[in-house]
Symmetry: C2
Amino acid sequence: MRMGVLGSGMVAQALSARLAELGHDVMIGTRDAEKLKGWQSSNQRVNIGSFAETATHGEMVFNATNGAASLQALTLAGEANLSGKILVDVSNPLDFSNGFPPSLTVCGTDSLAEQIQRAFPFTKVVKTLNTVTARIMVYPLEVAEGDHHVFISANDVDAKAQVMKLLKNFGWINIFDLGDLSTARGTEAYLLLWVRLFGAMNTGMINVKIMK
Amino acid sequence: MRMGVLGSGMVAQALSARLAELGHDVMIGTRDAEKLKGWQSSNQRVNIGSFAETATHGEMVFNATNGAASLQALTLAGEANLSGKILVDVSNPLDFSNGFPPSLTVCGTDSLAEQIQRAFPFTKVVKTLNTVTARIMVYPLEVAEGDHHVFISANDVDAKAQVMKLLKNFGWINIFDLGDLSTARGTEAYLLLWVRLFGAMNTGMINVKIMK
């Protein structure tokens, strides 16, 4: 499948490399191709493009840009290029303007995922993977042999099912369907706990398991 | 030990009954004693008092009032009556003004626990138990035989240790020390995910386990 990954940071790199490893035709989209040249030399199956080229390339597109800049990046990617497609939003509305730990640019009454969905009404936004670090996103078995949960939120049931299939290919065993896209308010706000767990444990190789 | 529990709702009732069961001398504090008469008839070991009487009674005091009204309730309890004591804050800054699911009255840059600590600088505020429903707070073994985590945040290390001991008496096996009181920003924000888990699972008898 043709995959487009918007972003050039750790998350975008991890997603792109893993998607290519799984046999997908991947383009990673950035405003600064130079930045990715070194990384690409060991990831030659991944092509580099602009945001717009990457959105056009992908049958499924990932938003792995900095949450604070996501709406702007997606606008550069182009509404027409994203129209009708699944956009897997793995970003978080983190506000680092006062350093670490971050706060959120939106909390409780709205979410970044919903902001994106409103701005791109013809795109099927699926929120997932934003509650774990890049490595766990794509190699979930590396923490507790996969005995932990990833959450998924979306308004479009078919789009959600497609992304769940991809998550299983990444290795996810426990996928928790929270419901519609407004439930992303919960997973985005969870980041405020995540950064404290990270602070206390000194590692990002952690996740939660829902117990009942 | 003399325990004071501020509040008259489900959480205050559960804490009071359990503390009495464990042999403590418990007073539950309310603005409306009539409301608790029926409950008290089957919990006769618990005395009913005003907020101020309850704060005075307790060597350790619990804030189990509605988060939106906590600062006002604690003011009625009286700064002098709370001075030098441990205040276990189990409340959440939930804003139900737009119905369910709630948003938060404070998020990311501050927490209700810190607001309380600033308003009562001579009281040792310990935030804990706010991430689980009343029944699990005091009978944690009823979910997954206790195989899940409760979090604790406080600036005063000795106060934190005392409350951890009490949590163990409730049955808690896994107590996660997040650090100072600012880490309550994380556990309070987690409620936005909790209400979505509750919505998806149709039960509050759930909790998270931290996996690594």
